[in-house]
Amino acid sequence: MNQNGNARRRERGWRILIAGTGGQGVLTAARLLTDFFVLEGASVTSGQLHGMAQRGGSVQSSVMVDCGMSPVIPKGGADAVLGLEPVETARALPLISSQTTVFMNTAPVIPFTLDQQAVRSEVEVRYPDVSELAALVESVTSHVFAFDATRLALEAGSIKALNVVMLGFWFGSDLCPFVPEDFLDTMLKSAPASSRGVNRKAFLSGVECSKRGISNQ
């Protein structure tokens, strides 16, 4: 990771895109980041696009720090992408440039429409190969961190903690100017007591995995 590049990006603020499917906690992750940045004294704009509020649709949310008033990340303008699902990460490609760091969960959520098409057309319609999707992202940026975050969430105790694992990836990377534990404290304060243990474990495993992963690159 290019330290000078990071410093430059921080000077003009940064733009984070969180992408996933309905029910994965994209909007919650965006809210947690926003609350934290505001407490840190930053000026935050966060946009969301989720169409019809039904389970299973594509959801994207932007969190932008010191970037002005626009809620929309321009093409190629994301500094970081947290992709909670492989196809949803690939859908965010237009916002990715060679400067973008992409954190990509490798565990897919299969859209039900694929089976619909398969039984109707008698042609095999399949979910794209995850390694091909990762390669697609890597063809745009070399800063790709792909990992089975769903497994880490399950190991921490709940698939619902997937969004927190993904936040851990970002906070554990050298792209992030904050101390992960500061975020953890803020997040746990707003979390219901019953989920604190799972969220702590999920976040820290994301942080650790990210530190290991990026230093290995």
């Binding site: 704009t45 649709g57 859209p111």
Partner: protein, 625 residues
Amino acid sequence: VSQLPHHALLQDRPSAKTCLLGNLAIVRGALEAGVQFFSCYPGTPSSEVGDTFALIAREADVRFEYSVNEKVAVEIAFGASLAGARSMCSMKHLGLNYAGDPVSTMPYVGVEGGMVIMSAGDPSAITSPNEQDQRHFNSFLYYPILDPATPEDALKMTRYAFELSEDTRFPVILRPTTRVCHTSGMVELGPLPERKNTIRFTKDPSRHVPIPVTARRMRKEVSERFAKAESLLAGSEFFPRSGSGKAGIIASGVAFTYVDQVVRELGLHEEIRLLRIGAYPIPKSILTEYLHSVDSVLVVEELTPFIEDRVTIAAFGIERRVPILGKNTGHFPVEFEYTPEMVEDAVRQYLHLDKRVRTEISVPELPARPPVLCPGCPHRSSFYFVRRVFGKKTVYCNDIGCYTLGYGQPLDSCDVLLCMGSSISQASGIARTTGKRTVAYIGDSTFFHSGLPPLVNAVKSNDPITVVILDNHVAAMTGFQPSPTTSADGIPTDALARHRFSIEDAVRGLGVEEVSTVDPFDEKATLEVLKKAKSAKGTNVVIMSAPCAVTEARSGARESRTAYTVEPELCNNCSLCIRVLGCPAIHIDNGTYTIDQDLCDGCALCAYVCNQDAIFPVGKDEPER
């Protein structure tokens, strides 16, 4: 999705800076203005405004209701205003059309307490059947309109709108778009007021009754008051100007934030004279002064060329012939939302700067994720059985709600759709013309919203239609707001009707003789009732009553049902379950049919449908949630 706990909206923390969702900034603005009465009908992207009031109304001492429809919401808020209260109502763009009748005469009568109508726009029809530009209510029916670009604007403008309304006696429309409603941004809080308006209805029929003789007097007053609104707006903070160059840009709404971005990134502060339009009517004095200061104008606004037309007229009026570029000149499209790229390209072209070269990244075709009825949704069962009895050739008229997802394969239960309440009247029109029995689907909230008059109309002619009322006891699509058939159990607000309505009683009261209520998960009773409805003469009604699966699970109203599983030994891969149900819990996993245990709601419809009796309930290892 609040950035603060809801009660934080009620904290008196003047000058504090915080980050609020646009819709919550609107709530805060109304509270800072001392709002006393609030009514709404939910509709994306406006719903969070009403849903937030539902939570805080009691603590904030605001009279609140989810109204039965937007026309009622507007009229009841107007009634409150006539009694002196600062009142507000919220709805989406289409709701303002539904309320068009009262809305068209309210400016004549005029308000007593300040009144604000928040009507959210949806450019690109992201969650709507159309996109529309409510700014035309400004010139069409004499409404002052405020047009926020950011959550900060939304807060300030809502607060100001009540004053403007009281100063001019016009109800004021606040028109944010999806990108403002659903954006969180920094806002500065103002003080919460200590005193509220005095409530008193003062009788004065000549002031409050628009009959021809008074209406003609009121018409003259409308013009005078509208001129006053224009002059008050001229002194407002909603037309900020910056820069000193001869190249002018006029922008509004979220498109303004894209212009701001380009100006900052390219360092164009000196080259460009920027005028932001935040309210209508646009004061002529502002346009005149601005037009004399520039050699050309680029107008950047979403939807129709509303500002552009007014700038063009103003330039003509003062004989100032400068190029005015925008939608009319093909520099911007009239359809859909703008993007930052579109705005940057247009600004660069306008200033004769090189076009920015962007690496076009080609994204391969990725599987889509259309919205789908949830596992366990009672509508799926209703659609399945109705189609089984009424067959493929029957015309199915559908309506606005989750059940619109009956569109397309596999449920194929939406041949016709138009607007709230239209399914019954459209079915009448089709049945009366073709002579064939036609089915109309409508949900509980939509039925009470606008399904009653068309049902009376159908009974009047005894049209051969079967109206299937999908009663899941909630307005699910817009975020699970209560409907008139919602049970009060477990709902911690006073947002609920004091009376739980019976659709069957209502329908009988309207003169329908053949009415049945069934649980769509009771296959035998459902088939029997539907067969009878199909062979009957004239208008009949079948009420499919079963609670929304999501609200049931959330409220803990019932024990979680046992999930189902496919027995691979018995399954012959006939694909029937997938072909007719489209349940997101059923998958084909490497050629094997499986049911996702986490998603399955245990409704058992697939087990009923399966020809091979290969689907069985299983014991769950752990209780859900």
